[in-house]
């Protein structure tokens, strides 16, 4: 299942107003590493249904958001819980690293 895309305004609503536990991958269409990491998240998403939201932001379409989080490159996965930024994973990450990070910062 593909990830739901966020823009600046839906990002505000979901992350901060709803305070959902979630992860957001900041990616770019032309990025090769992103093309490897996004499917990993798509595959994991069903396991966390109703517990952790999975989203993506296209940094070219929403430059303001990547600027705001001072992201120097893609892909980067940002983790949020109760409206607070918790942690991030950068670059080529595998399934186990994402599972461990979710357990550490979103489900602890």
């Amino acid at each position: 299942m593909s990830l739901e895309q966020l823009n600046a305004n839906s990002f505000e609503k979901i992350i901060y107003d709803n305070e959902d536990s979630c992860l957001v991958i900041f990616s770019r269409k032309s990025c090769h590493v992103c093309k490897e990491v996004v499917p990993v998240l798509e595959e994991l998403q069903p396991q966390y249904r109703d517990r952790v939201g999975f989203y993506y932001v296209d940094v070219e379409e929403d430059k303001n958001l990547s600027q705001r989080f001072s992201l120097k490159g893609v892909p980067q996965i940002l983790f949020f819980k109760a409206g607070e930024y918790q942690a991030k994973l950068a670059g080529a990450v595998d399934e186990d690293e994402v599972i461990d990070k979710i357990a550490e910062v979103l489900e602890s």
Partner: protein, 682 residues
């Protein structure tokens, strides 16, 4: 021989950059009534000055005040010292372990007197005596308490209105005067630069600097000069949509909302815009989130609020931090708002507090350490509305903190330092004369800002007047004064690095060039015979001593003669700009000899000096300013309403304190007590 103490309690009120000449101007205007009372109750020279040490640089002079030794003797001759590895680099120097002279507070502590050293930017941190009588707070940078180690988030201007469609965050944007706070093209101001921008505070006083890493700054042209850099304010800008409040647990009808971003952009604070009973929007309330019942703070239009504690998110870890905030503008219909929020200081950062429990005492009884502002410069709106009020608030917090400690902890000797005047001086004193480079700024406006900072200082000093009735002796003094420059200075004598321009023109420093003949930021050591680093020092590139040395020792003396001759002949805008130039061995007459004072010590002549640091300690500038430091004393052991014609040297202050409190002289003291002002014949 043991001497009897003339006083049991002595407080030093150090005010960085406080200039007696401009002070007298303001005393005559009647705007410094508290200082006037100190003068009437005490002793000073008629001109209120003392003869500052050379160089007129902050850590050098505060160390002289603490030790009674000249900079050539104590070895702290600038903010930095020469890197042992390379002539063009410097290393951090605000470390007490580099000081080669004994500090007076070690003597008083070891004599059984409980002693507090509060943010003294010269050889105070770390404590160099383990005597339990010695308490020390910070001193690792000149700015304000904890500034170098507790900063978690930078200053921000938040602008919100109904036309903004999405939340935008732009970090550390340079905003020359006249530029608004609306971000019209984010990419234009945040495009990645060739070299990452480095914050001057971080570069000079950050963790890397403190751990000994080299700082290599070349002053290649005017754009590298501190007065040019500091006069352009930089801060984070947030633009937020503004709309009717929606989804709140506690929003009244008609409330509007916008969003503040903190923590480098990653934390959001929803904010309500609220009406008063007359139906006019006049305040805002900042919340942790929309579910919260109570706000973090309510801000009324035009009122600065300090001591606001909110969590800052650092890499996912929440840390409570203290901020000041001010609602700068709010349209009566609530459709447009602008506010400033200060930098955020970690309220629990106690690594520069000795003992650590002092911080807890202050936080619980006075309030968390307050941040200051570093945005202002040529932007008169920000100086008026943010910078000056923030420093006023900090000064009042410091006065309360010191009075609390004095009242509750039985201190007998207190050395304290406040940086308000000096910090303001570096930002805009040079705008108080209409120099061509800043022709778009208004000198009169800036002269009034100088006035405001002296009024602020007078208010601070007034908070300690009551101690005179409680048996205390109080000294009010400075390290150096601050000039309103007569001219834009030449690029020699700039303290922040290696000065290239003049030495390159004279042929002593040679920079490498690329294939197109463009000058590179790299010294050609095979052709360089001398460099000018820090405030007043020229080093010969000597074989056997320096890493890339090319000058034979046998040729050093003649080369020095030639450099000094060329310096005197050098013309800038048609005029001689070098005041004195002398060999290291001869500079002992100025107290600027020894390995940290170069092979040649020189001064920039009156009329071409920058704010301070490059000329003699007697230089005067425009708007009745001078680089002389103030000195006066009042209270127990000091003659009342007394003036002396004695030349009071900076090295005389420490032995005067030692005499007053009845302890031995610090081991390397080179001055003598100011006998003339003491109530007892010596």
């Amino acid at each position: 021989m043991k001497r009897e103490a003339l006083t049991q309690k002595l407080l030093v009120l150090g005010v960085d950059g406080m200039d007696p000449r401009v002070t007298r101007k303001f005393l005559a205007e009647g705007i410094m009534p508290n200082l006037q009372k100190f003068i009437e109750k005490g002793s000073a020279r008629e001109d209120l000055s003392h003869l500052g040490a050379l160089p007129t640089i902050t850590p050098a002079c505060w160390t002289t005040l603490a030790t009674g030794a000249y900079p050539g003797t104590h070895g702290i001759t600038c903010f930095w010292r020469q890197s042992p590895k390379s002539l063009d680099a410097v290393v951090y120097n605000m470390d007490s372990r580099n000081c080669e002279a004994e500090q007076l507070w070690n003597v008083t502590s070891e004599a059984g007197m409980k002693t507090l050293v509060w943010h003294w930017p010269g050889s105070a941190w770390p404590p160099t005596s383990d005597n339990p009588n010695l308490n020390v707070v910070d001193g690792t940078q000149p700015g304000s308490v904890n500034m170098g180690v507790a900063q978690l988030d930078w200053e921000k201007i938040i602008a919100a209105n109904e036309e903004i469609t999405e939340l935008i965050y732009a970090p550390k944007v340079e905003r020359p005067a006249g530029t608004g706070c609306m971000i019209s093209d984010l990419s234009a101001i945040t495009e990645e630069e060739e070299e990452p921008a480095t914050d001057m505070m971080e570069l000079w006083y950050g963790e890397a600097a403190m751990s000994g890493s080299e700082i290599r700054e070349y002053i290649m042209g005017p754009e590298n000069m501190e007065m040019v850099i500091e006069s352009i304010p930089h801060y984070d800008v947030v633009n937020s949509p503004l709309k009717n409040a929606q989804g709140w647990a506690a929003a009244p009808a008609d409330a509007k909302e916008f969003t503040i971003l903190t923590s480098d952009g990653i934390v959001r604070r929803p904010t309500l815009i609220l009406k008063n009973s007359d139906g006019i929007y006049d305040r805002i309330a900042i919340y942790k989130n929309k579910k919260a019942e109570k706000p973090i703070v309510v801000l009324e239009l035009g009122k600065m609020v300090s001591g606001i504690v909110d969590d800052i998110n650092k890499e996912g870890v929440l840390k409570p931090a203290c901020r000041s905030m001010k609602l700068l503008e709010l349209s009566t219909d609530g459709t447009s708002v602008k506010l400033w929020i200060s930098n955020a200081l970690d309220i629990a950062q106690d690594k520069l507090w000795h003992p650590k429990e002092l911080l807890k005492d202050i936080v619980e009884n006075v309030g968390p350490v307050q941040p200051v502002s570093l945005v202002g410069g040529e932007d008169a709106y920000l100086v008026e509305n943010v910078y000056e009020p923030a420093w006023d608030s900090y000064s009042q917090w410091q006065a309360k903190a010191l009075n609390h400690l004095i009242k509750n902890r039985d201190y007998q000797v207190v050395f304290s330092h406040l940086h308000n005047i000096d910090c303001a001086g570096h930002m805009f004193w040079h705008l108080a004369k209409n120099l061509e480079r800043w022709s778009y700024t208004d000198p009169e406006v800036n002269q009034n800002f100088i006035r405001k900072f002296y009024i602020q200082t007078d208010k601070y000093l007034g908070e300690f007047l009551h101690l005179l009735d409680e048996g205390w002796t109080i000294m009010i003094l400075a390290d150096h004064g601050l000039l309103v420059g007569e001219e834009f200075p030449p690029q020699i004598g700039e303290y922040g690095g290696m000065n290239v321009q003049v030495m390159e023109e004279l042929g002593y420093t040679v920079m490498k060039k690329d294939a197109n003949g463009k000058t590179l930021k790299e010294v050609d050591w095979e052709k360089t015979t001398a460099v000018q680093t820090r405030s007043n020092y020229i080093y010969i590139n000597l074989k056997g001593r320096d890493a890339h040395g090319i000058v034979d020792r046998a040729d050093k003396y003649e080369l020095e003669r030639k450099i000094m001759s060329d310096l005197y002949s050098y013309r800038y805008k048609g005029e001689r700009v070098i005041g004195l130039a002398m060999r290291n061995k001869d500079a002992v007459v100025l107290g600027t000899n020894g390995p940290q004072c170069g092979d040649i010590f020189f001064t920039v002549d009156e009329g071409y000096s920058r704010l301070h640091g490059d000329g003699l300690s007697t230089v005067e500038g425009a708007f009745d300013t001078s680089v002389s430091p103030i000195f006066l004393a009042a209270g127990t052991g000091i003659k009342e309403n007394f003036t002396t014609v004695r030349t009071i040297r900076q090295v005389d202050i420490a032995p005067t304190i030692a005499t007053l409190v009845g302890v031995r002289m610090p081991a390397h003291c080179e001055g003598g007590p100011i006998y003339q002002i003491l109530t007892e014949e010596m």
